[in-house]
């Protein structure tokens, strides 16, 4: 059990990512609601023997709750100024959306009444509704009443979050990504701040730089009047993060300053969750963000220019796989994001193709016979559609999941497919020139061109190669009178190094050097 008041300074393995991030932010006096962490060690004990594990820490939990009460001058489970808490999962592995979190915990009739007295009846009612539905969904038993005792809620909430480590979706996620099953999760109990409080409130989640293109500008979402789970649910229409600049400029400036500080502390782009309550900014979570290959290259160069990372770290941030991805023809993110999004569904078969949308199979077959590039767009697919699917470049359906007949057939035929785009999509797309993106599950307007980066022509890759040549044990050049090395496999690069070569010529010098640096142990894997 650890207070996250900034001096915990314990390893990420013990606090989980969330707890670690909160502690770092508190240490640097950033505005973070007070919180404590029940460590991954307890999480592991819970999985072995749930009751004994919680019994053993329960007195400590109550003690830390008293600390939260003192920090916030609120009281848990009663008025006049009730303390509500969030109970958040925090594994060491990043498993976005896989684990459970309960917000607004510590709610009962008396608490709702007190919230209404201090805020508004609508706010109190909305907060209670949110709590009840989330508690029932996560703790279980929609028929069971939610206990009125706030401490009983807390105990059940902590147990449910620990248990969510072994939820089917979390297990499947780890199996898919080959992640260690034994890590367990920590639990962070944090004083609630309310994005649903009044018109000067809201919640958001954003990246300090664009994780898709790598552009140095914030990218993300802001939801006035909402709580954090609304933002990530995908069920509510959110605004771009820049809308906050227009609505609450001072808060936006403070948020951007905080983002820059967090970037400097983490030496990396950050993904940040925040809440604004009555015009006051609160940071809830920060972590290094996932990024595209394009963004990986551009961010590494930007951070190096800003002096946040050195040459070796720059080379660690870009992997040979990133560069290989960039050298293949693809829909570049800048192209993708500037074309209007016409439909969104589930990616069923990867690839990017363009063509004219046909909703009728016979018309599609005729057009394909004439040599036209055809996209077959159907509300649902029938057996007799299969020939049309074969003749088409890509397939879009209104109804159907990623294991639907249409998805199964598209994968067998190797046809790019996006399924389950929603009713009305076929009619809205009919006759248009569209691009189907089977990686992102998107349909965009127009025939979007595919293009690839090049080691010789793309400035970012040339700059990266220049940096690599300064530190790589094997310098690779696009031209010059050197032994040739076009095989980028680890074995070939190792053989060249073992042969004592210092310089080689290659069609892909950057990939050679990134591999050599990894083999020499000068940068991490």
């Amino acid at each position: 059990m650890v207070l996250l008041n900034g001096d915990a300074d314990l390893p990420r393995e013990l606090l989980g990512n969330k707890g670690h991030g909160v502690d770092v932010m508190r240490r640097h006096n950033l505005p973070v609601p007070p919180a404590f962490c029940i460590t991954t060690e307890v999480g592991l004990r819970y999985l072995a023997d749930p009751k004994a594990a919680v019994d053993a820490i329960w007195d400590d939990v109550l003690d830390r709750m008293s600390w939260l009460e003192a920090e916030t001058s609120h009281t848990f489970g009663r008025g006049p100024r009730p303390l509500l808490v969030s109970v958040r999962s925090g594994a060491t592995l990043s498993m976005p959306g896989m684990m459970d979190t309960i917000l607004n915990l510590g709610m009962n009739d008396a608490v709702e009444k007190a919230l209404a007295a201090h805020g508004s009846a609508a706010f109190a009612r909305d907060t209670r509704r949110r709590f009840t539905s989330m508690y029932q969904r996560i703790v279980g038993g929609e028929s069971n009443p939610v206990p009125t005792d706030a401490h009983a809620q807390l105990r059940a909430g902590i147990e449910a979050v620990f248990a969510s480590w072994n939820s089917p979706r979390a297990v499947a996620y780890r199996a898919h990504y080959g992640l260690d099953d034994r890590g367990g999760t920590a639990v962070v109990v944090q004083a609630m701040v309310f994005g649903n409080h009044n018109p000067n409130s809201g919640a958001g989640a954003f990246f300090s730089r664009n994780p898709i293109t790598g552009a140095n500008e914030p990218f993300g979402e802001w939801l006035p009047g909402g709580q954090g789970d609304d933002v990530v649910s995908g069920l509510v229409d959110v605004e771009p993060i820049t809308a906050l600049r227009d609505e609450q400029p001072a808060v936006y400036d403070e948020l951007m300053d905080s983002a820059r500080r967090l970037e400097r502390l983490g030496c990396d782009m950050q993904e940040i969750e925040f809440t604004v309550e009555d015009g006051k900014l609160w940071l809830l979570q920060t972590r290094a963000a996932e990024r595209s290959a394009q963004a990986a290259v551009r961010l590494a160069l930007q951070l190096r220019h800003e002096g946040l990372i050195d040459d070796a770290e720059t080379m660690r941030r870009v992997t040979p796989a990133h560069v290989e991805t960039l050298l293949r023809p693809a829909l570049q993110p800048e192209t993708r994001l500037t074309a209007p999004l016409l439909a969104k569904g589930l990616p069923a078969c990867p690839g990017v193709v363009s063509g004219k949308a046909y909703t009728d199979v016979d018309a599609a077959l005729d057009a394909a016979d004439q040599g036209e590039q055809v996209i077959l767009v159907r509300d649902h697919t029938k057996p007799e559609d299969v020939l049309g699917m074969l003749a088409a470049q890509g397939i879009v359906t209104e109804v159907g999941g990623a294991a639907s007949h249409a998805a199964v057939v598209s994968r067998e035929l190797g046809r790019v497919a996006v399924v389950g785009c929603g009713q009305g999509v076929a009619a809205s797309l009919a006759g248009k020139q569209i691009t189907v993106d089977g990686y992102e599950g998107e349909v965009r307007d127009g025939n979007l061109p595919l293009s690839a980066w090049s080691e010789t022509d793309t400035p970012e890759l040339r700059e990266l190669a220049d940096v690599a040549r300064r530190i790589s044990p094997l310098r690779a050049h696009a031209t010059g009178d050197h032994p040739r090395l076009d095989d980028t496999s680890e074995a070939a690069v190792r053989a060249a190094m073992d042969a004592g070569y210092a310089d080689v010529a290659s069609a892909t010098p950057l990939i050679i050097m990134l591999t050599a640096l990894r083999l020499a142990g000068q940068v991490g894997p």
Partner: protein
């Protein structure tokens, strides 16, 4: 070969060569030629490089299907369809696991892990043993459907013989092709359109 069986087969295939039509009907070419010629002459089928159904053929097919269903016990068909839905989900997840590793959002299966592939294919026996009685129950009402059991068995035999294309390849009577058509038959026998079935959350 009945008019109904031929029209339905052509409709389900979309466009089909006479030879493939004969195969899917379990006949040799001679066995269907007379029926096909007669249907073409009366304008119900359109003959080009392939056969396809005409609008009037589609209408005729609907009439024949309605006649076929006139005296069936709709509760028995509904029960068969209900049972089919559960095994349908399991079969499609089997095929998805064959195609992708890591579930619907997974990566393409490169078929480089014999153990993984064998474990997926082993599930087909269970699917088959569950679907056969369902077809049998439906066929007590619509005897024509018995043909699907035979065609599934042929595909199963090929898959078990190592010809794994017969699990899901389109345009041949692979296990999935036959299954997809059977699904279509059951949806229409139970009185739903595929659209209605799809919107009610199955038939996907």
């Amino acid at each position: 070969m009945t008019e109904l069986a031929v029209l339905q087969a052509v409709r389900l295939k979309g466009r089909v060569t006479p030879a493939d039509l004969a195969t899917t009907l379990g006949e040799d070419l001679d066995g269907i030629t007379a029926t096909v010629e007669q249907l073409t002459e009366s304008g119900l089928l359109i003959e080009g490089t392939t056969l396809r159904i005409s609008p009037s053929g589609r209408a005729r097919l609907e009439t024949l299907l309605a006649e076929e269903r006139k005296d069936v016990d709709s509760a028995a068909i509904a029960a068969a369809y209900h049972d089919f839905r559960a095994v349908n989900t399991d079969f499609k997840s089997l095929v998805t696991d064959w195609q992708l590793k890591g579930g619907p959002k997974g990566k393409p299966n490169a078929h480089d892990n014999a153990e993984y592939d064998a474990a997926v294919l082993a599930r087909l026996d269970d699917v088959h043993s569950r679907v056969v009685p369902i077809i049998g129950a439906a066929a007590t009402q619509l005897p024509r459907l018995n043909a699907y059991s035979s065609k599934l068995l042929v595909a199963l035999g090929k898959v078990k013989n190592g010809e794994t294309a017969w699990l899901a390849r389109p345009l041949i009577d692979s296990y999935h092709t036959v299954w997809f058509e059977l699904h279509e038959e059951l949806i229409s026998a139970v009185g739903l359109t595929r659209e209605e079935a799809a919107r009610s959350g199955d038939a996907q």
